[in-house]
């Protein structure tokens, strides 16, 4: 089962990611140079930036895969500078390369990912069905699947693991229109369920409407931040009706 970090953030527990002037190293080389970013539970943050801007490094840092050499980096209450391993079982990272074994079927791959966390395997079939992986697709070795289908299997593993922090690195790549719509639904469901989502993208048309907040990354630092489409949509939904308009709303 997931390991809870001993260093709790106390009152600020709703903050899932807290980076302050965080510098992360990929090997000996700086991958992030002083990033300031916070992501709250239930929030979807999209990271935009050109190739080499540090988007993947940012996500890998939040997953506890890169070494944070200076600044503050706390993810899910775990101080990454003290213990970056503890957070790993609580995040779900969809990277460029899917963490799948070619010889195993979609079902076996998702089952392995689920059992590794000690979760019951009755999560596996519903997750596969949610991603449209039914019938023969479920039993086919993933090495024989298309890139988009492999992406779906990796997403199914994330759904089965239901992480507290979703880290999606250019998740639209290789997905057809239907799968992209499904991805949008999954992100929305995850955020509505209280998980935080940090998503990097090259495709603002697809990703910005999903976001509460959009940040731009360049040269390993955050250069700007603006509201995304989800924030606008939610604020419209949340707006109370004008007094007297419906008669039943009380301010």
């Amino acid at each position: 089962m997931p390991v809870l970090c001993t260093r709790s953030m106390g009152a600020a527990m709703a903050t899932v990611v807290e980076l302050r002037t965080a510098v992360a190293l990929a090997g000996r080389f700086p991958a992030l140079s002083g990033v300031d970013l916070s992501v709250e539970a239930g929030e979807v943050v999209v990271v935009l930036g050109p190739n080499g801007s540090g988007k993947t490094s940012l996500l890998r840092t939040c997953a506890g895969l890169l070494n944070v050499s200076s600044g503050t980096a706390v993810v899910l209450g775990c101080d990454l500078r003290e213990d970056r391993v503890a957070v790993r079982s609580r995040v779900g990272l969809l990277g460029h390369a899917a963490p799948l074994y070619d010889e195993l079927s979609a079902r076996e791959n998702v089952r392995f990912a689920t059992r590794a966390l000690g979760y019951p395997t009755d999560r596996v079939d519903p997750a596969l069905e949610r991603l449209g992986l039914v019938g023969r697709l479920r039993r086919t070795p993933v090495g024989r699947l298309s890139a988009g289908q492999r992406r779906r299997v990796a997403l199914a593993a994330l759904v089965a693991r239901s992480p507290e922090l979703w880290l999606l690195d250019e998740p639209h790549a290789g997905l057809d229109a239907a799968a992209r719509r499904l991805l949008g639904e999954l992100v929305e469901e995850a955020a509505t369920g209280g998980a935080a989502v940090l998503l990097s993208s090259h495709e603002p048309d697809l990703s910005v409407p999903m976001a509460d907040r959009v940040v731009s990354l360049a040269g390993g630092t955050i250069t700007s931040s603006s509201p995304g489409g989800r924030a606008t949509k939610l604020s419209v939904v949340d707006l109370p009706a004008p007094l007297g308009a419906g008669g039943s709303n009380v301010a």
Binding site: L65, R88, S89, G95, H96, A97, P99, L104, F112, A116
Partner: protein, 222 residues
């Protein structure tokens, strides 16, 4: 840890059963090595019988390197390597699982090689318990040390060529002790076989402990 080890071993063995790399590459390689050694020694049955234990363990040793390389090739992609680190599995459990999967494959390989030694060299086993115990202990040592060194070289671009350089000298004591124990088992009197079992047991124990303790840091460094 044990649950994780079973999970990883099951996964690795299932992948091996599907890919059949062991069946179509490692086993033929080991048998080929055995035949080539026999060619090098010539047709004299006495010399072949005397060399049989050493040749058997040399073939096992070279096959171990292939099996270890294969075990880490499974996790060779960036995705699967990260996936294992993010899986929530105990690194000690991953080590034990991978070592157990390699050990099981090596034990099956030894059965095939033993048949080869009997057929090619005319070897006869007089003390089966000694040979079996030596095989089990040596296999634990080979797989534990191999997986530990496999983890050390896993993230390197030159891992295919580096692994044999790192691991073959380390495994030399197993070659020596395994050969001597098997020589005793093949002889009409097993005198002295027990002391080689102690060496094999000590080697296995040391590398199981080393792997359990160090696999996590090695995985991080790779």
């Amino acid at each position: 840890m044990w649950r994780d080890a079973l999970l990883v071993a099951g996964k690795d063995l299932r992948i091996e059963a599907r890919s059949r790399v062991g069946l179509w590459q490692v086993v033929p390689f080991a048998l080929l090595a055995l035949v080539l050694f026999a060619f090098a020694l010539g047709p004299g049955p006495v010399a072949l019988r005397a060399a049989a234990p050493g040749l058997f363990w040399l073939a096992v040793l070279f096959s171990t390197v292939l099996a270890i390389q294969r075990s880490f090739a499974i996790e060779g992609g960036e995705g699967t390597r990260d996936g294992l680190r993010l899986s929530g599995l105990d690194p000690a459990g991953i080590f034990l699982g991978k070592a157990a999967a390699v050990a099981l494959q090596l034990l099956v390989l030894q059965l095939v090689l033993f048949a080869g030694v009997v057929l090619l060299f005319g070897a006869r086993l007089h003390t089966p318990w000694l040979a079996i115990t030596a095989s089990v202990l040596a296999t634990i040592g080979l797989s534990a040390a191999g997986v530990a060194y496999g983890a050390l070289s896993a993230g390197l671009r030159v891992r295919e060529t580096l692994l044999p350089l790192l691991v073959l000298p380390v495994l030399a004591p197993v070659l020596l002790a395994g050969s001597r124990a098997w020589a005793a088992a093949l002889a009409t009197s097993p005198a002295g076989g027990g002391q080689w079992l102690k060496i094999l047991g000590a080697f296995a124990a040391v590398y199981v402990v080393v792997g359990v303790v160090l696999y996590g840091p090695l995985q991080e460094a790779a």
